[in-house]
Each structure stands twice: as structure tokens, then as C-alpha cells.
Amino acid sequence: MSTKSAESAGAAGVGDFDPGAPYRCSPQVSLRPEPFGALVYHFGTRKLSFLKTLPLVEVVKGLEDHPDVHSAIEAAGVEEAQRPAYLKALAGLAASGTIEARQ
């Protein structure tokens, strides 16, 4: 089981997610503020997931106002050292359909 999920996360992280491209929060997704960050529900896949920090919520909400993912991360004030972790989290959100590339 663990092998399988590692593979799918890896594939999405490397192949599909391009932090240099413009993204947005999926219109099928609802974000609910919670003390730790936000709960995310995808009405299409019925998947519930979590944004585990408040800055990550800012990043996800801000995606559509920025030309690429990097600038959304910067605008949310995420420290340099933490950016790789944020990119990894966002790759996961892209793989699950929570965020998607926009034209």
C-alpha cells in the first residue's frame, strides 16, 4: 500500500505539477477555515483533505491572483527555507485535484 501511494505522489510531483505555471483552487473545492488552517472538500471526488498551516491556506487562496505558484508562495510570506515543503504539499494538492493549472 505504501509503495503504491509513494509512486503516485512521486509521479504527480515530478510529472504534472509545474510551479512555474499559473494555478488556481479548483472551482469544485470548498475551503473551510479551521484553527489549524483549513478543511478542504472536493465536491467532485468527495475527498476531504487538510491545509495544515495558515500560510498554506493563503497560498492556495492566492494562486489565482498570481502568474505562477512561486509568486503565490512568496506573496503569502513563506520563508525561503520552508518553500520546498510548501511545493511538495502543493504538488500533492495538484495530484488530488484540489488545485489545478489555469489557462
Binding site: 500500500m1 470548498s30 473551510r32 478543511l39 465536491f43 468527495r46 487538510f50
Partner: protein
């Protein structure tokens, strides 16, 4: 702080909100967790139900789990379904299949954001109908056929695991695969009428391990409602929330608007308020005394020193309560056997708390399950053959007018539905 710790202290809104729309039901399942059967005259009206949906939308409750009773016997069920979806509150509803004919199946297949759970507690009619009543297996399968034919994507088959059906797990999976459905298995709780049959139905210790092993192999394909977290003490944690969510991420709204900590805890001790009260559901969720108390850090009580406490968190509150065990001790189905010891130590004079919310039909019909007929038979009666006479539990039970408005909780009015 870990995510699960945040959950312990409660969320802004529930993740898993169950709403039993009616206590009316065409079936009389022996293990019904809500002791359903007859409609309660104080049931929320259509307008009141819509006001609750409006509130849930404001609170961003993403979806609701609608049950009963049999929710589809409410004449306004389809109206409320559409209303909820139109207000961004997705609907998952549980049904025994009664109303899922070809026309409804086609309508549902064309509706977004609706999920359906068909209840089936045996992979064969013998095992299923024993607890759910004659004809209920065929009714469920017919609904699954209709949904598959209409192209409804992935309905759920919802199974309560019992001593009689644990060996059928592979067969349940095969049925699910046949109809393009997803299998969902949940734990039997001694709640409602389940308390009367729990001793006979709850899985044996060896079967607990059997379920656990089966889930470890297939946990990614099968839904569980996170109800088997007490089994996590066998080894690796099962997928999902390994924590009692009562009042923290879970709650129940019952047909008359009462809000309980969880669907398996319909008892005044777990009643937090009513949606008709001032402040509505939101106030109950955010600041009722009961929910505030449930969100306090738990000490673990007698389980605190157990090496598996982190895995099982002491198990299910309702399972303990309705077997007469202390809430801060082991679950009756503790995988280390401490629950059995605790049950044995209760003594002959122990009192099992009984809910005063009971909408069971007082007379059993031809469609009642064999098990219910047996369990409702008088204890002093010979045990050969099914009995149809119920145990009198009200003064005027034997009067022909019994149940006709004599009780303030039950008008005795029955909906004209099949099987009643």
C-alpha cells in the same frame, strides 16, 4: 500540534454530520441503532428542515449523511435532497432500497453531489433477512440493479458487521463489484435495539482479528466510516480517523431536531440541545455544555497505562455506555480482552442504560426479522419458533387503541408504506 490533536479540541463545524430525517421505517431491523419504526409527530417540518440546511450552508458543512428510519418515506425527501444540493450541502443518504425504482434511479443518476448507501447486512438472503426482515435482501439488490442500470456511479453497499456475516466479507466485495458499487463496512454498536441483540450479534474475538486482517489488506478499497479504530490496537493503524469523534468532528441531528454527540448515542446523557432552540444548530455545536465537555483532553482512565492507548484511544463511547461499562475504561470489544473482563465483572445486578427515545413498532408483522421476534419474545416463554407477541413495555400495550396518541413522544400514526 498534530492534526488529530486539533480534532480532539473540536472544529468550527462538524466533518461528519448525520441527520436522521424520520423515525418512520418500513423495516424493523433487529439491531436498529435508532430504534426506528413509527414516525414521531414532532418531526421537523419541511420549512424547519430547510432552515437547518440554510444554517449548515452558512457553517460550510460540506455534506450531510441522511438516514432514519427510512428517510425516503418522508414525502418531502426528494425536495429536501434537491434543496440541500442547491445550497452547496452535498447529500449522502442511507436507504434500504424501498423507493429506488427505475425512475428514481434515473433521476438520481442525473443529480450531482448525491451519494447513496444501500444497507445490506448479509451477502445472502438468509443472513441478511435474519436481522433485517423477510424480503429486505431482495429489496436492496433490486435497488442496486436499478442504480446500475441507470448508470448511477458507485453507490455504496453499507454493511454492519456481525458474527453471522464476517465470513461473508469476500462475498460482499463480490456483490459490490458486480453492481459497480463501493463496499462500506461498519461496526455493530449496542445502540437502540442493537442493545437487545448485541450479545448474539457482535463479532467474536477471533472474528475481530479476521476483520482487522481483511481491512489491512483492502483498507484502500473499502470504506469504514472510521468505525473500527478500536481494532488499530492489533498493530498498524487503519486508514481514517483513529479517534472517537463524538461532539468533536461528529454529531447527530435526530428527526425532532435533537442534537446528540453521535449517531450511536441517542440517549439523554448525550443530548446537547435542539435545532429549534435559540441560536439553532450552530449554538449547540459551538457552545453546548456537552460538546464543550467532550472537547476537553481525555485522560484515558483505566486504559491510560495500556501500551495501545494511542492506537485505540479507549474505543467507542457508545459501545461502552450501552453495555453498562464506564466511559473511561476499555471498550467492550477491546482487542486485548479487557472489555470482556469488564463485562464479566459487571455483576448480576448491573444496569444497562436504556434510551427513552424508542419508536419501535409495538406489534410485529410478517416482515419483522426472525431475530427481532425472538428477542422480543417473553423471557419465560418457550424458545421454540418465532414469537410474534412483543414484550409489553407500556401500560396499555394490549389495548386496541395502544399507541394512538397516548404517548407524548409517539402518536402511533403510521405512514402507509410497504411492509408496515
Amino acid at each position: 500540534m498534530k492534526l488529530v490533536d486539533h480534532f480532539q479540541y473540536g472544529l468550527n463545524s462538524p466533518i461528519c454530520l448525520t441527520w436522521e430525517l424520520t423515525y418512520a421505517c418500513n423495516l424493523s431491523c433487529a439491531h436498529c441503532l435508532s430504534s426506528s419504526g413509527r414516525r414521531d409527530p414532532r418531526e421537523l417540518s419541511t420549512a424547519e428542515a430547510k432552515a437547518v440546511i440554510d444554517e449548515l450552508q452558512r457553517m460550510q458543512v460540506f455534506y450531510i449523511n441522511i438516514g432514519g428510519g427510512e428517510p425516503t418515506v418522508r414525502p418531502d425527501f426528494w425536495e429536501l435532497l434537491d434543496y440541500s444540493i442547491a445550497h452547496n450541502v452535498g447529500v449522502k443518504f442511507s436507504t434500504n432500497g424501498l423507493k429506488i425504482d427505475k425512475k428514481r434511479a434515473a433521476q438520481l443518476a442525473a443529480t450531482d453531489y448525491v451519494d447513496i448507501q444501500i444497507s445490506l447486512d448479509g451477502a445472502t438472503p438468509e443472513v441478511n433477512d435474519y436481522v433485517r426482515g423477510p424480503g429486505s435482501y431482495d429489496m436492496a439488490i433490486r435497488a442496486l440493479e436499478n442504480l446500475a442500470e441507470a448508470g448511477f456511479a458507485q453507490p455504496k453497499i453499507s454493511v454492519v458487521m456481525t458474527r453471522q456475516n464476517v465470513d461473508q466479507l469476500d462475498e460482499f466485495k463480490a456483490i459490490a463489484d458486480k453492481y459497480g458499487a463501493q463496499l462500506r463496512i461498519t461496526r455493530l454498536r449496542p445502540s437502540g435495539r442493537g442493545a437487545d441483540v448485541w450479545d448474539e450479534l457482535h463479532p467474536l474475538p477471533s472474528q475481530q482479528k479476521q476483520m482487522y486482517d481483511w481491512l489491512v489488506d483492502r483498507g484502500d478499497q473499502v470504506l469504514t466510516g472510521d468505525s473500527f479504530f478500536h481494532l488499530s490496537a492489533f498493530g498498524e493503524a487503519l486508514p481514517g480517523l483513529n479517534l472517537c469523534g463524538a461532539g468533536r468532528v461528529v454529531c447527530l441531528i435526530d428527526p425532532v431536531g435533537d442534537v446528540y454527540a453521535c449517531p450511536f448515542a441517542i440517549h439523554e446523557n448525550f443530548l446537547a440541545g435542539n435545532v429549534r432552540d435559540e441560536g439553532g444548530f450552530q449554538r449547540v455545536w459551538e457552545s453546548s455544555d456537552l460538546f464543550t465537555e467532550l472537547r476537553q483532553p481525555q485522560t484515558g482512565g483505566a486504559c491510560q497505562s495500556c501500551m495501545h492507548y494511542d492506537a485505540c484511544q479507549g474505543g467507542c463511547m457508545a459501545a461502552k455506555f450501552f453495555t453498562g461499562l464506564p466511559l473511561d475504561g476499555p471498550d467492550p470489544e477491546c482487542v486485548r480482552g479487557f472489555g470482556e473482563q469488564a463485562l464479566a465483572a459487571r455483576g448480576d445486578d448491573h444496569v444497562i442504560p436504556k434510551s427513552d427515545v424508542n419508536h419501535s413498532r409495538t406489534k410485529l408483522g410478517k416482515k419483522s426479522p426472525v431475530l427481532l421476534q425472538l428477542s422480543m419474545g417473553r423471557p419465560d416463554a418457550p424458545s421454540t419458533g418465532p414469537r410474534v407477541s412483543g414484550r409489553p413495555d407500556r401500560a396499555c400495550e394490549t389495548s386496541p387503541l395502544a399507541g394512538m396518541g397516548a404517548s407524548d413522544t409517539d402518536s402511533g400514526l403510521r405512514l402507509p408504506v410497504a411492509g408496515s
